[in-house]
Assembly symmetry: C2
Homo-oligomer: 213 residues x 2
């Protein structure tokens, strides 16, 4: 799909006719509108057309597809490149604590949390969204985390930690199981820090015949 102007009707719906001063601002607005839509309506309920209308911007100029928009929304929400580099700049011995601290700092912002819950819901109901999320986590998050571990089973350890984070999100925000649902951030840090650390650097004794897969 080649970049093109949106239809006149969409521009008039948005109430805006002029061009935005800079492309990056426009792009940011689109991603903000997309984040909101994915969080509120999920992957199936989000359309490029609706995002274009609410952002009042040239969506197709920047994003060819809904998939592209979802990845952009995730990237803005999690900034894995910068944030993970910062998390992993600390001692390997404190990585568990750093990771749960980082995760909670993202979840404590309602806007980011809503995007992530929207992503979890989307993955539950749409196989394409599940695949996108998997590729995003595997490529942008777990591979980076694994690279910090000097270990034969680095990727297995990274995905173990990933599963624990998703499980916490699911219990706390989707199922709302107590006492995890209303535990304070300090309590969660105190519980998950050592468990994640054990998962990343603790002993691991895999069965001999087939290692890890």
């Amino acid at each position: 799909m080649s970049p093109r102007r949106p239809e006149v009707k969409e521009r008039s719906v948005s109430g805006r006719t002029g061009r935005r001063p800079g492309q990056s601002t426009t792009r940011d607005e689109i991603v903000a509108a997309a984040r909101e839509s994915f969080a509120k309506r999920g992957y199936d309920g989000t359309s490029l057309r609706a995002v274009a209308a609410s952002a009042g911007a040239l969506v197709r100029r920047f994003f060819c597809s809904k998939e592209g928009l979802l990845v952009a929304a995730l990237t803005v929400t999690l900034s894995p490149g910068e944030r993970l580099a910062e998390v992993m700049s600390h001692d390997l011995d404190s990585l568990g604590e750093q990771i749960i601290g980082h995760v909670l700092s993202v979840w404590e912002k309602p806007a980011s949390r809503d995007v992530l819950i929207g992503m979890i819901r989307s993955a539950c109901t749409n196989a394409r969204a599940a695949r996108l999320l998997r590729d995003f986590f595997a490529g942008q998050v777990l591979a980076r985390l694994a690279s910090a571990l000097d270990d034969d089973e680095a990727l297995l350890r990274a995905s173990l930690v990933g599963s624990q984070i998703v499980g916490l999100a699911f219990y706390r925000y989707v199922l709302k199981v107590e006492p995890l649902a209303s535990a304070s951030a300090e309590t969660l840090r105190a519980i998950f820090g050592p468990i994640l650390q054990r998962s990343l650097t603790g002993p691991i004794d895999l069965p001999k015949r087939k290692k890890s897969r």
Copy 2:
């Protein structure tokens, strides 16, 4: 809603007109049909009417509501009463290993696995299903597990373990993140056994001001 006969039309669709010999067999058939429907179509896509038609039985005589059916399907799938008693009859020191072994024995049966994935999907999209699942896990599973732990933070530990199990299911079956997605049961037992054990009986150092909630 009082117990009543199904409409003639539903009976003729099912091709069965006579009574079942025993109530318990009929009930089992209904629950089996309900499990299949929840697994395939989720909570929103399941209707009492369709389950009645496919089970060819007196659904309303046993279950007043879809909620009742869902809880019955979960109970049959997980048998928390008997299975957890067996799991917890072992030493506290091997509880982590017992739990992951039990969880995998359920997931290795495609029929049970499909029901559980159906439940996770339902909870993602329907707040009522999420509440039912939460009440089921909290009341039938976590409370029993917590009662086995002689610990002030027993319920927090039990829900921590629950979140890790759900996270593994989500990573393995919904997102399909490697290497967890295709890891063997032996590998999963080797990884999760010690982590769950650490979560159940390892040291825990909560912040002083507010304990656990």
